[in-house]
Structures are given as C-alpha cells and as structure tokens.
C-alpha cells in the first residue's frame, strides 16, 4: 500500500494539468468539483498509505523511500525525484490533504460567480501539489522545489485579484520577503552537500551524528533563516498580514494551515542537524518564537479587520511552534501544527463565511449580532475560538499545554511569555467573537466609518472583496448606501465548517499528555525526532500545575474580553492604542529604512549593475556583433558555396585522420 505514495502528489498535479487545459471550458461549479475531487482522492490515497505504514513493523519499516526517476544526474552528484514516507511526512500529508480537500469544497461556494473561478482552482491544485512535494520529497532539493512552488502559488493567490494595486503589491511583498529566507535555505543545501556529499534525508540522518559542531551550527542557522521567512517569524513576518489580500480560502489553506508551517516542518525534518549544532541555535529559535508570539498577539489585540486579527493570530501561533521546536519539543510542535491547522482553518473559513454573508464587509466594528442570522457559522466559530484560546477539552488546550510544558523546562521566562501570549490570545479572540457575533447589529448605520488614516490603508490592503465584489470602493459603497442582509452561507461552505469544528473539538485526542499510553502522536513520531527530542522528567504535579495556570490564563483573557466588549456599546468601549493597531510601527520602520539609507545603497548597486556588469555583457555582445558583421560575408546565400565549405571541411577531417593514422 505504501507503493501508492506517488499517487498522493500525482492527483493534484493531474487536476492542475486538466484545469489548465480545460478549466475555462468546465466553467463555474465543475472546475471546482474537479479540483476538490482530485484533492479528495489524494487524501484517500494518503489514508491508504498511512494505513500501510501503520501496518508495517517498527524500525526501518516505518521509513519508506520511493524513487521515481533521476532528476539531475551530474557526475558524482545526482538528485532523484523520490518520496520519503515516514511518520512525519505522512502526518503532514494527512492534514494537508484533508484540510485542503475541505477548503476546496468550501471554495466552490465561496468563489461562486467570480470571473477567475477556474483560475483559482488551477492555482489551488498546483499549491496542493507543491505542498505535497515539499512534504514528501526525499531530499533537500526536492523539498526546495516544493518550497518555491508553494511560494509561487502563494504569490499568485495573494495577488489573485491582481487588477487592484494593493493586492498586487501585497503579493510582491510576500514574494520578496520570502526570497530572504530562501537564500538561507539554498545556502544550507549547498553547505549540506559540501559537508555530507549528499542531500537526501536518509543520508543526512545517517551522517548528521558525524558533523562537526560548527558545520552543523552553520547549516542549522541557515535553515532557521529559511524557516523564519516561510513561517513569518520576526523579523520577516511582515508579509503575512498583508497576504490577507487574497481570497479567504487562500488565507485559510496557505497562510494559516499549510504553507506557513513549512518552516516548522523543515526544522523538524532536520532535527538531527539541529541537535548536533551548538545549543544556542535552539535557544535562538525558542526566543524568536516566543518574541514573535507575544509581539503578534499584542498587535492582534487592536486590529479592526477580522482577517487581520486572524493573520496576526497565525503569526503568534507559529511563534508557539517555533518555541516548541526551540525547546526540543518537536512532537509538540507538530501536534500544535495539526490542531492549529484545524482551528485556524476553521476560523478563517468562518470569517470568510461572515464576510460572504456581509457582502464583503471585513470591519468588525460594523458587524455584531450575527449569531442569530448565521447560526452554523457562529456555532462553529465559537468552537474554533475556544480551541485557540486553550480552553479544555478543546484541541488547542492540549497542544498549547504541551508547548508550555516544554517551554517551562527550557526556561521559566519563555514559559511566562507563552503564558502571557495565551492570555492575550484568549482576549483578542474573545474580542473578535463578541464584536462579530454578539451585541447589537451595527451594519445598518450607514455612513459611520470610524478609524484614522492608518487603519483605512490597512483595511484597504487587507481588503478581501469576497466573491461578489472586488474593489474596496465598491465595498464601502455597498456598506454606505445599500442595506446589508447577512445570511447563512450555502452548504458547500458550512459543511467544511462543521467538519473542521468537530476536528477542532476532538483533535486533541491524538496526543493526550496526561497518560503516556495516550500519547499516540508522540509514539508515532518517535523514530523521526529521536535525535533532537527533549525528554521531560517533570513530575505529573508540575504538569498539572502548569495546565491549571494556563487554563486560568485563558479564562482570564476571555473574561476580560467579555467585560470590555460583550455588553458595552460601541461608544463606551476602550479605544485600542494606535501603536498596537499599527503593529508597533514595525512595517513603517522597515519602509523608512528601505526608502532612506537602503535606497541609496540600492541605487549604488543599480549603478554598478548597469555600468559595470551590464557594460561588460554589452561590450561582449557588441564585440560579437562586430565579428558577426565580418563573418556575415561568408553567408552568401549560394547553396553551392556552402556545399564547397562542407566539402573542404570533410577533406580536412579526412586528412587529419589519415595523417594521424600514418603517424601512429
């Protein structure tokens, strides 16, 4: 059954090719169903492979490599296109294909009526294919291929409504920011090949133990840079909030559930190398993660745009995963990745449903009281909220608890930051839920559009446009002049919501931490992370204490939010600090630097490029052109002259061989 691995990425690829060729002809619902079917089939194949892998006996049987063909044979170096199936990759595949299938289904409803309907699914299928290549690739280069593939798809999809300036520039921003991380990854590949002579994972696992500490450190640092770029950590997080310009399903699939976790996946995959590196590397990872988590959580507190809140929340949760990786809790990182995929996808899709129902409106200050009008969306959203807030027994509780436990082991300060973040998470999510689904309806009051310049622009950048309308002005016009009639979404959108809500509720059972026997995920992933996994020796008392403290923190956050936002009307609500709304001015600082001293440096580089580099190239070209002009005389156009040349050449060749034969 494991032999079916190639089917997993092949189906989305097939879907991509079919849609590319016939997408337009298939038209509105059909193209979407085709895409959903291929991804669903891919999920089914993953389940089959998973069962096959489970059925296999332990040890090496849990690692299976399927080589399809040799991709780049170059002397002693060759790269195969092959798939590595082990507990880690198959776990990733399961939730990637599963979530993707649900989101595809959701998109059929969400994208209905959009002129780029089939194009959307072309990109989505390509994305799923790339993501699966990333996850399943059995060497660093193939993973890099998938890595770039998802990056490209992310770019396409962020700028999906590319006719609008803001969307296009958001896409560009994501692309450029990711390049910085990719640079780190590329150099890491080269360094790995240099050090080990191979870039396949099996060889890396086998050879990692023999690496010198400095080499391992260098590789690890470079990989971390790559991961920071892809997973939107400080200081390269800036692209992710802007990436919300894409359609909401894209945000759910790419910028919450799957692609952004690639960095975490990469670090987990390469854990033997990180284990071999200096300890300060993992400490750095943990610190970066903790800082990002706290930073993003504070920013999320003040956002008005429903999707921006979720975006910063995603950054924050990714910080948790980094914290886990840095603390040596790879299983916890993956665990949190899985549960996060469930509830964050749910939240995004829920927000999409809200936006859809509101006719494109994204500002929470003009929502409220939607609970009654959109019962399914509201109910599932609340499940997602409780899960992300870490309220037991929702899935988020278990995974977050696990991360915090390891953070405590690493350093109590990290734990404290995590705890504060948890509190903030519960708070801002509570704020979001209360503003959106509770209180009095505020969408009827036309013309009241509070907020300063900054958030205006922020809202514009992050504007979604929904399925029906696509420009910010249109949205404002709709909100200002026409009555908005919020309504529940079609079944294709609510069914995924319900399924994801169920998963968010119950997702924790895969790794219940209070009994060793119930830590299924941990035992499952054990062979993959044994080199880097930190083993706990905390007593169950400590575990229980930490869990209680975390739960209390969550409840405090929710309570705080309810006090501030549940009952009060819009007027007497506390105003959020502007500095938080604008993300601590980080974005502006980056822009200012790039526009000021950075700009001058770039100009200098441009000058160098234009005059020295291009000059050399153009000079060579001019030289060739001159020589060509001279040689052009030979091209007389007379066939027989050419034939004469050929004959002369033949004579010379034969003569050379004859003379050589005589000489030898």
């Amino acid at each position: 059954m494991v032999e079916l691995t190639w089917v997993i990425p092949a189906l989305p690829l097939l879907g991509f090719l079919l849609l590319l060729a016939f997408g337009r002809r298939l038209g509105d619902p059909l193209a979407g169903w085709l895409a959903t079917a291929t991804v669903g089939g891919s999920f089914a194949a993953t389940v089959v492979v998973f069962l096959g892998l489970r059925g296999a006996d332990g040890g090496d049987a849990h690692r299976y490599t399927q080589t399809l063909f040799t991709w780049l044979p170059a002397g002693g170096f060759s790269v195969d296109v092959g798939f590595l199936v082990d507990p880690l990759s198959i776990t990733m595949c399961l939730f990637v294909t599963g979530t993707a299938a649900l989101i595809h289904l959701y998109s059929i409803g969400y994208m209905h009526g959009d002129e780029g309907f089939s194009r959307f699914f072309v990109y989505m299928n390509l994305f799923v294919f790339s993501m699966l290549v990333l996850v399943l690739g059995d060497n660093l280069l193939l993973t890099f291929l998938g890595w770039e593939g998802v990056g490209a798809c992310s770019y396409f999809l962020i700028a999906f409504w590319h006719t609008k300036e803001a969307n296009a520039s958001a896409g560009k921003k994501a692309f450029v920011t990711n390049r910085i991380g990719d640079w780190g990854y590329l150099v890491a590949i080269l360094l790995t090949f240099f050090a080990l002579g191979s870039i396949t994972y099996t060889d890396i696992f086998a050879g990692a133990g023999g690496l010198a500490t400095t080499t391992a450190t260098a590789i690890a640092v470079l990989l971390v840079i790559g991961a920071i770029g892809k997973s939107a950590q400080l200081p390269l997080y800036v692209w992710l909030p802007d990436a919300m310009a894409g359609p909401t399903p894209v945000s759910a699939l790419i910028h919450a559930a799957t692609m952004v976790t690639a960095g975490v996946y990469l670090l987990t995959r390469m854990n033997p190398v990180i284990a071999q590196a200096s300890p300060w590397v993992s400490t750095t990872i943990a610190v970066v993660g903790a800082a990002t988590a706290l930073f993003a959580a504070t920013v999320a507190v003040a956002q008005h745009d429903i999707k921006r809140v979720l975006a910063y929340s995603t950054v924050s949760q990714l910080g948790y995963m980094f914290l886990a990786v840095g603390s040596g809790a790879y299983v916890a990182a993956i665990f949190h990745m899985v549960t996060h995929a469930f509830f964050k996808a749910l939240l995004f899709l829920g927000s999409g449903s809200v936006i859809h129902g509101m006719g494109g409106e994204q500002d929470m200050r003009r929502m409220g009281g939607l609970r009654a009008l959109m019962p399914v969306t509201a109910a599932t959203f609340i499940v997602g909220w409780l899960a992300i807030a870490g309220v037991p027994p929702f899935s988020g509780f278990w995974s977050k608890d696990e991360v915090l436990l390891f953070a405590w082991e690493k350093h109590p300060l990290l734990w404290a930051v995590g705890l504060v973040t948890a509190l903030l998470t519960a708070f801002y999510m509570g704020r979001l839920v209360f503003l959106t689904f509770f209180g009095e309806p505020r969408w009827r009051r036309a013309g009241t559009h509070p907020g300063g310049e900054a958030e205006q622009s922020a809202a514009e950048v992050a504007d979604d446009g929904g399925g029906a309308t696509s420009t910010a002005t249109a949205v404002t016009a709709v909100a200002a002049e026409q009555e908005v009639h919020p309504h529940e979404s079609p079944w294709t959108m609510t069914v995924p919501l319900v399924v994801l809500a169920g998963l968010s509720l119950l997702g924790g059972v895969i790794n219940l931490s209070f009994l060793s026997r119930l830590q299924v995920l941990e035992h499952w992933l054990e062979p993959v992370v044994e080199a880097g996994e930190h083993h706990l020796d905390s007593s169950s008392g400590v575990k229980l204490g930490l869990a209680v403290v975390a739960t209390v923190a969550s409840l405090v956050g929710i309570g705080l939010a309810s006090v501030l936002y549940l009952r009060r009307s819009a007027a007497d609500r506390p105003a959020e600090p502007d500095i938080l709304l604008e993300g601590w001015h980080y974005d502006q600082a980056v822009s200012a630097f790039a526009g000021g001293p950075g700009r001058r440096f770039f100009d200098a580089t441009t000058w160098f490029d234009r005059h020295i580099v291009d000059g050399a190239v153009n000079g060579v070209a001019a030289l060739i052109r001159g020589l060509g002009g001279v040689a052009r005389g030979l091209q007389s156009g007379y066939v027989r002259s050419y034939a004469l040349g050929v004959a002369a050449g033949a004579v010379v060749l034969v003569a050379v061989f004859v003379l050589r034969g005589v000489a030898l």
Binding site: L634, G637, Y638, V639, R640, L644, A647
Partner: protein, 106 residues
C-alpha cells in the same frame, strides 16, 4: 581461374565507392540545376551504401545491410520532400537555378 576463385578484396569496393562519392560531391558543387544537384546527392548516398554493404560482408555482419535499408527509406522520404520543394519553386520561377535562390544571404 585462380582469379575467379579468390574473392575480390574489399579495398576495391571501398575505392570504387570513394570515387563515386567524389564524383557526386563534385557534381553537387558544379551543377546549378537543383534536380541534377539532387541526383548528385543520390550518387553520394549510393557510394555510402556500397561502403556499408562492403563492410557488412567483410565483417560478416548483416547489420550493415540493415543500415542500407534505412538509408534507402530515408532517401526516399528526402527525395519526396525535396522534389516537392523544387516543384513549388520551379512552378513559380520556371528555369530557376540553385544560384537564383540566394534570398537567405547574410
């Protein structure tokens, strides 16, 4: 009678095919009629075929003859297309020679 008994040396055949090839090549260079030039190409192909067959016998390997078979087929295809082109040209420019078709000069 002794002459008849000993098989003729391969060198004779090879030498003959060398001469045949040369004649064909020279013909290609000096004639201007595209049809005749084509025929000269056929001469050269035949010279090569003869060489193949000679080697096939010399080495006792039918592979050489198989190659000649393929050369024949390819020559047929080449002639068909070549003549098609020549027909196309001569129909519109009766009496055009190879030297008149020098539109592709540099």
């Amino acid at each position: 009678m002794i002459l008849a008994a000993t098989p003729i040396s391969a060198s004779w055949y090879l030498g003959l095919s060398a001469l045949l090839f040369t004649v064909g090549a020279v013909g290609l260079l000096v004639r201007r009629n595209p049809l005749v030039m084509f025929m000269c190409v056929e001469l050269m192909l035949n010279a090569v075929n003869l060489t193949f067959v000679t080697f096939a016998r010399e080495l006792d390997d039918v592979g050489g003859q198989v190659v000649v078979f393929f050369v024949l087929v390819v020559a047929a295809a080449e002639v068909v297309i070549g003549l098609g082109i020549i027909v196309g040209i001569l129909r519109r420019r009766p009496g055009a020679t190879a030297d008149d078709l020098s539109l592709l000069k540099g």
